[in-house]
Amino acid sequence: MTAEKIHARAMGLFFLALLLLLSLPGNLLAGAALVSGQYLSGAGQDIQLRITVASPSPTTLIVIQNLPIGTMIEAATPSFNQYDANKGEVKWLLTKVSPGSYMVTLRLQRAVASGAISGEIRYKEPASGRMINLPIRP
């Protein structure tokens, strides 16, 4: 094969790759949207957080719920793995995650005001191994 043909083939592959890259959805290019979180209820006595996982999904998620310091928890679904009342930080470890929706709920002893809570989802991006910290606001 001549150098010209090799160059021609290389150029062809380059444009093909460019075309494929351009045809990808924007959110995939940005590395986002693999995991997203949305508060269905972000105030009051019941806190509900919906987590949506797309493909290719990370295998494990750590979900963090920040509450006002000293908040007492009456119930949690699923059960949390850590609760540091001094920091108001609740943590869940969700393993064997697959694409789909997950619900994390908390029932608090006292109602909290809107804007007093926040959340975060941590995971490793499967393709790159990069640590992602995704903040969530009600």
């Binding site: 990370p58 490793k124 191994g129």
Partner: protein, 347 residues
């Protein structure tokens, strides 16, 4: 007819059918190197077996040979002949003698078969064959040149495709913690990736450091040697990659802060390349810190926990101590107690 013949020493021997062995090997696209590696002998020995120089071999080797050929022992035994009086010489002696004897040099994998499956069992010299009529094509220089050109072009195309395919056909990557506490199991994962489109067989060999003991394999490995420990997997890659994992632990009396070396290689059945080295991490240090605590700060943080699950969590049945790792993650920290040889979890 029973082809098994015990030797005076009590070792069962069998008569093998060399031509059939060669036919099965070639039909399955296996190289002599691949078969030799699985059986644990040299390519010289495989060549001799196929050429019926030593048709009477140990039954144990016949079983391994059948395994390498992905067939049954009965398929490679010569049922039509009584046990031959010739006995297989001890492997090491025969290797040494044969290397000095030109008539018994090893047969290259691409050497022509000695016997065709249905051909009569004869060893008549080539000179006894009737002379072949000279092809008509030889008298036509133009046509011959055109065919030669075509053959060269085809060969060049074949070489080009193979060269491109072979560039990154198989690669093996080891993931290993940077450190581990003596006596505490740690996981090792070797991922074999390929760009080949069709399934192929491989042999993966992993050599552990001298004071490191294997505990569990997924899939289960085969021990080959014990000092040092050499683990072996014989597998088939059907997709883009295969994952081979195992648990190992340093001996409890291993000296802290000393570094161990892991080595490994992959032999692909259709490749004459002796071995593709396993790349990735290959050293592990004896340390009082848990292997999941990668920055050795006495706690397992979120990123370390996620790394453990992303790297090792997907391997079903590999018991690397998830529960204890989660307990340490949920707690404030941990410390190694050398007297009890266990981690104390700090709440």
């Amino acid at each position: 007819m029973d082809s098994t013949k015990p030797l005076a020493g009590g070792v069962p021997m069998v008569n093998i059918d060399g031509a059939r062995i060669r036919r099965i090997r070639e039909e399955k696209g296996l190289t002599q190197l691949y078969v030799a590696t699985v059986v644990g002998v040299t390519t010289d020995t495989i060549s001799r077996w196929e050429n019926r120089r030593y048709p009477n071999i140990k039954k144990e080797n016949a079983v391994k040979l059948a395994e390498a050929l992905e067939t049954q022992v009965a398929d490679i035994i010569d049922h039509g002949q009584p046990a031959a009086p010739v006995e297989e010489p001890p492997a090491q002696i025969s290797e040494a003698v044969l290397k000095e004897e030109p008539a018994l040099q090893p047969t290259a994998p691409e050497a022509p078969p000695v016997l065709e499956p249905d051909a009569p069992r004869t060893t008549a010299p080539p000179a006894s064959h009737p002379p072949r009529p000279r092809p008509r094509i030889a008298r036509q220089p133009v046509l011959r040149s055109a065919l030669l050109l075509l053959a060269v072009a085809g060969l060049a195309l074949f070489w080009w495709q193979n060269a491109n395919d072979g560039e990154n056909q198989v690669a093996a990557l080891r993931t290993l913690p940077a450190h581990a506490t003596p006596g505490v199991p740690f996981p090792v994962v070797i991922e074999v990736t390929t760009s080949a489109s069709s399934p192929f067989s491989l042999i993966l060999k992993e050599t552990l450091p001298p004071d490191c003991m294997p505990a569990q394999g997924k899939p289960q490995f085969v021990f080959q040697e014990s000092d040092p420990q050499v683990l072996k997997w014989i597998g088939k890659i059907t997709g883009e990659h295969g994952v081979y994992s195992y648990l190992a632990k340093l001996r409890p009396d291993a000296k802290m802060a000393s570094v161990r070396q892991f080595t490994g290689g992959v032999t692909v059945r259709s490749d004459d390349n002796p071995s593709i080295p396993v790349s990735g991490t290959d050293t592990l240090e004896a340390s009082p810190f848990h292997w999941a605590d990668s920055n050795s700060d006495g706690r397992i943080d979120d990123e370390e926990l996620l790394s453990v699950y992303e790297t090792y969590g997907g391997i079903e049945g590999l018991h690397f101590g998830k529960k204890q790792i989660e307990e340490i993650w949920a707690a404030k920290g941990y410390r190694w107690n050398p007297e009890t040889r266990s981690y104390e979890i700090l709440q």
